[in-house]
Subunit: 403 residues, 2 copies
């Protein structure tokens, strides 16, 4: 009977717990025992872990599929570059003490870096412990994999919420600009999903700006003025990380004198900066909306495609680890031709970590719009609605392990 240790790391997604569910269920079907790190590798270093196989006797893990946040807790902990640092020895002592054969780490870029370092260290000390990465991120910025579990649900939330905002913003018969700020510091994948808010009778969001294209205030002003000639209500979607040609973030465009009364600089986001810019340069009504945390934690609007793929990613990791793979990440590979179909393959994690997959600039139109190739890419990822169980008017959730 193999012993598996699983952890969750980095920012949560709506389906990071579905991957955990996949790990637990696949392990169960293969008679493995599963332990969970509490608060990732950082918590495990403090001997915080839990026996999930035993826990499964007490709670209903099916609820993981609509429970937001990270059931096991999370961390942001970067292992040192130097494999001679003591932390590696400490970790492996703990792995060995617990009798761990396989470590699965569910996370994004930094987490894959952790998997890479641990598997390299294992190789160095000739340990037999296998290390596998299971991808998750709403940013969709991991290379090689077609997309990342977590992205589809976030894209569905962004598309639906932006459409609601578009409809709400248009009810008054007067000029109004609405700026929606969407997560994504370096890659515009999530912001691009706002294009799905369009319908045949409603072109909003008229303008979509990603960090992959240099942002220019004067072009922006021209774009907005032009859009206002076509529609009284203009909705603009921007990535939080848009920046100018000098590399300066738009959210840093406030005057140096903007200190609050507590002596701190009032960084308020790119949306707020552009709201003030529109008010002062055009003078029409303008409001900015930051979609914020619900983009990654609104599990109620998760796509079933995403939930199922997240689960399969977890299952695939277990399967290949048992077959002896290590230093690998589960990648989603899309069939070359429609209909949409995904196979799950293993790729070297060293080819994934510390790289970023940017939004393809040839999928961007005129610097302010998204083309049909992206719509074809993203549409399958947002399909399907999860039937959430309700209790007292709210979704029934599974209580996190760290509470």
């Amino acid at each position: 009977m193999k012993k598996i240790l699983v952890g969750q790391s980095g920012g949560p997604t709506a389906v990071i717990n579905s991957s955990l569910y996949g790990v637990i269920k696949e392990a169960e079907s293969r008679d493995c025992e599963v332990y969970g790190m509490v608060n990732g590798i950082e918590g495990f270093l403090e001997d915080k872990y839990v026996n999930l196989t035993e826990k499964g006797g007490e709670v209903d893990f099916e609820l993981l599929k609509n429970t937001p946040a990270s059931y096991l807790g999370s961390c942001r902990y970067k292992l040192p570059e130097n494999l001679n640092e003591i932390v590696y020895r400490l970790l492996f002592e703990k792995f060995v003490k617990l009798g761990i054969d396989i470590v699965l780490y569910i996370g994004g870029n930094d987490s894959m870096d952790t998997v890479d370092k641990l598997s390299r260290y294992a190789h160095e000390i000739e340990s037999d412990i296998k290390f596998i990465g299971v991808p998750k991120t709403i940013d969709n910025d991991l290379v090689i994999t077609d997309h990342c579990p977590g992205y589809g649900s976030a894209a569905k939330f962004v598309a639906g919420t932006v459409r609601d905002i578009v409809w709400d913003a248009g009810v008054y018969d007067r000029p109004v600009v609405t700026i929606v700020e969407i997560m994504g510091r370096h890659a515009g994948w999530l912001t691009a999903a706002s294009v799905l808010a369009r319908t045949e009778h409603e072109f909003n969001p008229f303008l979509i700006y990603l960090p992959e294209i240099d942002f220019d205030l004067s072009i922006f002003l021209r774009d907005v003025k032009d859009a206002l000639t076509k529609s009284k209500s203009v909705v603009v979607c921007i990535s939080e990380g848009i920046k100018d040609s000098a590399g300066k973030l738009i959210c840093e465009y406030e005057d140096e004198s903007t200190m609050d009364q507590f002596g701190h600089k009032m960084l308020a986001g790119a949306g707020k900066v552009l709201e003030h810019f529109i008010k002062s340069s055009i003078g029409c009504k303008c409001r900015s909306i930051e979609l914020n945390l619900p983009q990654r934690c609104f599990a109620q609007m998760a796509s079933t495609t995403d939930i199922e793929e997240a689960e399969m990613a977890g299952r695939t990791g277990v399967k290949h680890a048992i077959n002896g793979q290590s230093g690998s990440m589960v990648a989603l590979v899309r069939a070359k031709e429609p209909p949409y179909q995904i196979s799950f393959e293993m790729v070297p994690v060293t080819d994934v970590c510390n790289l970023e997959k940017k939004f393809p600039t040839d999928w961007i139109k005129r610097g302010n719009d998204i083309g049909d190739r992206f719509v074809d890419y993203v549409m399958p990822l947002i399909q399907g609605e999860h039937q959430v169980e309700f209790e007292d008017g709210l979704p029934k959730l599974l209580r996190p392990i760290y509470r």
Copy 2:
């Protein structure tokens, strides 16, 4: 066959279209013809209206129940105090020309003022046209009625979203303060609903501040520090309209020097102000989240109780108008004893308009928490989930009339 004119006014709610649905369906069952003002009374003054009875032959009005925003468009238009102003004569000429017998206006405080003035003018000129108000507001601040259609769905959204945020904010094992800013300039009803995010194992949101209690920065700091001794993650919910004992809004607490580079004052909301205050006075990680427009337009999370009551409010208005009532608003009256039951009665609109129902201060605990009496009050209002029809991964909506 009577002719009914219906309008929607003020900010939308998730169920303002359910009230419209009720008006249309009740009118249909009584062989009345229904016209809709486009963009409320302001649009009607410009002869913008539509024959909804005819429209019903083309589109599926059932979709109104999950369509956000105002199907007919909206306005913010206050009729003059002086009934001798020409606008009254103009409006009644248009009513008469169209052969209108009944005018129903779906809206909040200002809209009830419109109903009041129009019915008083009708009385003055001895017109037989009946004027009825159908309440809607997420603020829940209309007097006499137990609650307002629109509030229950917004409360359900706030409760569910705050709980998601609470769970997400707690995944890291380090001190963090999360401030959630909720709509409500003068009344704390919607912010109070955040108390429903609590579960038996999770006390967050630890602190809830409404505009009904003077806000004091030093007490706030003491409260947050105290909460941080009990939980590493502290979530605070505030109404956008919290103000100090001198009546100054907390969102205006920025230094006068906080001008942006375009020369405008950077008003960024009370949440942002408190985020900076916590960062500078405690120094821990702090983030603020403004729930913003989705509170009123996220139709996908509407409560069926709210949808059904909104529809009944519309139906009740039609019924009583046909029976000759005028100058009245539909009020929801709750049975004195459980189980929860609502009857729909007519009350003089003049007793409702231009008044505000504040959150009862004896339902507030220690100035920073909400008591069980409110939980008993609000719990029935968020019950029931609407089965939304999906198309291409997003809810299927009815295209607004003004597009």
